[in-house]
């Protein structure tokens, strides 16, 4: 069940721990199956399920704490790939850096780099404009570069 794994990975990037992520996935499946009638055939089923999971998370206790996701202050430091050449950092430090990211950044990385969703699909999932997806992805990667450069 590849969707099952994908949902779990997304849940894991939103929720702080394994147990919470598993609860999220379970609830998402139930909601998805129950609300299947409201799914419009031909639209992206994966994005639809991701959105259910995200909404479920946002109304959960830790989700409410994680909000607001949207109002991160603009990054001060200039985007300069050369100054933060991305080293193939060892796995653990990269994992730590990803875990250290605010949820809003971690989730776009998961959807884009792990689940391979297009910007459009991510925009659908998060109910935000594509431009916001782009800038959030850029800032998420920038934060990782900084974190890895600093470690």
């Amino acid at each position: 069940m590849p969707l099952f794994d994908s949902l779990y990975r997304y849940a894991r990037s939103l929720a702080g721990n394994r147990a919470e992520a598993e609860d999220l996935v379970q609830e998402t499946f139930l909601k998805g199956l129950r609300g299947f009638g409201s799914f419009t055939p031909g639209t992206n089923f994966r994005a639809w399920m991701f959105r259910i999971l995200r909404n479920t998370f946002l109304t959960s206790r830790s989700g409410l704490r994680a909000v607001p996701l949207e109002d991160e202050p603009e990054l001060e430091d200039k985007f300069t790939p050369e100054t933060h050449f991305f080293q193939r950092a060892n796995r653990e430090s990269l994992q730590r850096a990803i875990e250290g990211l605010p949820v809003a950044f971690r989730e776009v990385l998961t959807l884009c780099d792990v689940e391979n969703l297009s910007y459009k699909e991510i925009a659908e999932t998060l109910s935000i404009p594509i431009g916001t997806v782009t800038s959030r992805l850029i800032r998420a990667r920038q934060k990782l570069r900084v974190a890895l450069g600093a470690s």
Partner: protein
């Protein structure tokens, strides 16, 4: 063209840009292509790191064990039906020959295997009229080693069929005559210890059964004018 903006570097690495001019520029410009490569490497590393997150088997079980909603049950039922269809079809079309062989044996063992006893086809043929929804062809057996003994009406799945009893020296042969649309569907031959022969002619299905060589049944079938 100009160098890629930092934003375009990311968008290109994410597969969001398919512009031949940019692709050409990346071929020409080491600086920009190196920037794209860095993002691609980073994406790859993020993928490698996060791909390993796997849900536990316990969660799988929890999710699949939950009571399922109605639509899911409908889907499951449809799937089961599809899976079972060949089986159900086979049930409906169980091989009929063994059953007919049983009927043959039972009729021969009975005190009155036939209701109309006649060696004369001109007696037997009219007897069936009004008793069956079709005309039963009665063969002329005068020039053959066979003799007509008689006939009766039998039932197959609530539909009437003709039963003819034919003798050949000490042996007796049963001939069932069905209308095609009421005939048993599956008349595949199976091991039964007796000879059987199925043939169709004029909208009718004939099944001959007897403890005689199969050649005899074929000879008999020819006598029916087929």
């Amino acid at each position: 063209m100009n160098h890629l903006s930092p934003e375009d570097v990311e968008r290109f690495a994410d597969g969001e840009i398919t512009d031949p001019a940019i692709e050409q520029h990346l071929i020409d410009c080491a600086q920009c292509s190196s920037s794209v490569l860095q993002v691609v490497q980073m994406k790859r590393a993020i993928y490698d790191t996060m791909r390993d997150e796997k849900p536990s088997d316990a969660l799988r079980e929890r999710v699949t064990r939950k009571p399922l909603p109605a639509w899911w049950i409908a889907v499951a039922a449809a799937l089961v039906l599809v899976a079972l269809t060949p089986f159900l079809t086979r049930m409906r079309t169980q091989p009929a020959l063994p059953e007919l062989v049983d009927m043959h044996v039972t009729l021969l063992a009975s005190a009155n295997p036939v209701d109309v006893i006649s060696t004369d086809r001109h007696t037997v043929k009219p007897w069936f009229e009004g008793r069956l929804p079709f005309t039963v062809p009665i063969p002329e057996l005068g020039a053959t080693p066979f003799r007509l003994i008689g006939g009766r009406v039998v039932y197959w799945r609530a539909n009437p069929a003709a039963y003819l009893l034919v003798g050949k020296s000490a042996h007796r042969i049963s001939v069932f005559v069905f209308r095609d649309d009421q005939a048993p569907r599956d008349l595949r031959d199976g091991p039964s210890g007796v000879s059987t022969l199925v043939w169709r002619s004029g909208g009718l299905t004939f099944v001959a059964i007897g403890q005689v060589p199969r050649d005899d049944l074929e000879q008999l079938s020819r006598a029916f004018g087929t």
